[in-house]
């Protein structure tokens, strides 16, 4: 029983990290149909900049804020310099561009920072919380809470606000969006800023648990991508569910079956789900009539 609970905690902790990354994918995808493979780099930057600024003497909250703002600015720059000019390009081209951006950011990070592994103190100390016989780090609660807050925010944004609707409209039909007066460039800028900011936030929250280094981005991107697709790309509900699900599957597999093939288990589940639900768990089927 306590074993199960411990596995659950482990899964939730890791799953929350994945979910945060997956949520980051959602906005850019909703605005442009682009899966931004540089999303993982935003997470990396969130951690690295915070560490850097903190090490340079800034108090932690300020350092974190700086990291989020700087990363959001970088997101905007990537959009302006790399995504906007390639408007209308086929999906594979856009994938390569975002992977290029990811490689670039990683290359820059190793020059600006270093190749060492870093961390900074957990927000609420390291004394584990004990529930029955299982334990959980206070920082895990921060990450889980962060994922939930971001989820609720995004969900409200997309379902309750006209601007959120405009974001969806932009990806659905950019031409029509312009015709109804939506400044699609602004929508894209906003989306990249938000996505990058959420990515950085993920990095800030997770680093005390996962540690960070210039090359951790790609791992986050992969898991976040997998989570988002499992849940159904574009839907915040899907991102949340997908992220947590992958975390839980990994933890349960590691706990009860084999830790060696726990990631395999996650991908097998993804393949199975997609076999029966080609749009993921919550993905909306696009209605295109012929």
């Amino acid at each position: 029983m306590s074993e199960l609970l411990q596995f659950l905690f482990s899964g939730l902790t890791v799953g929350a990290v994945y979910a945060l990354v997956a949520l980051g994918f959602t906005i850019i995808y909703n605005a442009s149909d682009v899966v931004n493979f540089a999303q993982g780099e935003f997470v990396m930057l969130g951690g690295m900049i915070t560490w850097f600024a903190h090490a340079a003497g800034l108090p932690l909250p300020l350092a974190a804020l700086l990291a989020i703002i700087a990363t959001a600015a970088l997101g905007v720059a990537i959009n302006k310099l790399a995504i906007e000019p390639a408007r209308g390009a086929p999906i594979v081209t856009l994938i390569i561009i975002t992977i290029g951006a990811s490689v670039f950011v990683q290359g820059a990070a190793q020059l600006v920072f270093d190749k060492q592994i870093h961390t900074f103190p957990a927000f609420s100390g390291d004394t584990p919380l004990r529930v029955m016989d299982a334990t959980i780090q206070p920082q895990s609660l921060w990450v889980i809470g962060g994922a939930l807050v971001v989820f609720v925010g995004l969900w409200l944004f997309f379902t309750r606000t006209l601007l959120g609707r405009a974001v969806l409209a932009t990806s659905n039909n950019r031409l029509a969006a312009q015709l109804v007066g939506i400044n699609t460039n602004f929508v894209m800028t906003l989306s990249f800023a938000l996505s990058a900011g959420i990515g950085a936030l993920a990095g800030v929250l997770a680093t005390p648990i996962t540690l960070t280094a210039y090359n951790v981005g790609i791992g986050f991107a992969l898991k976040g991508f997998a989570g988002a697709m499992l849940g159904g790309m574009g839907n915040p509900k899907g991102a949340l569910a997908g992220g947590f699900l992958i975390g839980l599957i990994e933890a349960m597999t590691a706990g009860y079956l084999s830790s060696t093939y726990k990631e395999a288990a996650a991908f097998v589940v993804i393949l199975l789900v997609l076999f029966f639900m080609p749009q993921g768990l919550f993905g909306r089927k696009s209605t295109e009539r012929v």
Binding site: N173, A176, S286, E288
Partner: protein, 233 residues
């Protein structure tokens, strides 16, 4: 109200508009007819700003329109119901209409939407369905209604009657006439040249990227060349 002078436009290296001159006066209905591939859609795309212009000038209400980005043109009063309908397929019918009034956030939005539903009752029945599930004609109605939600002072219509049942075609033409009564200017591109010329004040004939004929609508309807080439009579 709207003046086009020597307008040129190209797709890549191929020029498809070779210097178009036309004007639409305030409160007028002007129609453009022409064969497939003449460049009518391209012309409208230039006017709404989604197609780059390579020469000539467009003035709207006395101001040059060319430097205004597409998304600002609706705020200036220029709305378009585009070819191919271009609705937001993943959003609901109601969301499509609401986005048509993206620029506004007042009580009139609800009233306008009510008007739209009045005009096309079928849209009311489908208001909460994804617009992509609508039938072709229903989508065409939605495109038209969405353009009206933008409160245009000048409306660009690209084949609004395409795919509509005869009873609705008649209704669309009535709506256009009604818009005129409300003071809205309309530039109408139609394959149903007969219907279009009947409600229009003036008309232009376009052939391979050039205006080849123009005049009051009654004159054009009577012109034997037009009757033979476009009306099939």
């Amino acid at each position: 109200m709207l003046t086009v002078e020597g307008l040129r436009s190209r797709y890549g290296r191929i020029e498809v508009l070779h210097g178009i001159d036309l004007h639409v006066d305030s409160g007028e209905i002007v129609t453009v007819v022409g064969a497939n591939g003449a460049g009518k859609t391209t012309l409208l795309r230039c006017l709404s700003g989604v197609q780059p212009v390579s020469g000539g000038a467009i003035t709207f209400r006395g101001e040059p329109l060319t430097p205004v980005p597409a998304y600002r043109r609706l705020a200036r009063g220029l709305a378009q119901s585009p070819e191919g309908r271009q609705i937001f397929t993943n959003l609901t019918v109601e969301e499509n209409l609401r986005l048509g009034a993206f620029l506004y956030n007042d009580e009139r939005v609800d009233k306008d939407m009510e008007d739209a539903f009045q005009m096309f009752p079928i849209l009311r029945d489908k208001r909460n369905l994804a617009a992509g599930g609508l039938s072709g004609g229903q989508q065409q109605m939605l495109a038209m209604a969405r353009a009206l939600m933008g409160r245009p002072s000048c409306l660009l219509l690209d084949e609004p009657s395409m795919g509509l049942a005869p009873i609705i075609v008649a209704q669309i033409f009535d709506v256009v006439r009604g818009l005129k009564a409300l003071g809205v200017t309309v530039l109408l591109v139609e394959q149903n040249a007969f219907g279009a010329l009947k409600i229009a004040d003036r008309g232009y004939v376009m052939e391979t990227g050039q205006i080849t004929m123009q005049g009051p609508a009654e004159e054009l309807i009577a012109d034997p060349r037009i009757r033979e080439a476009y009306l099939g009579i």
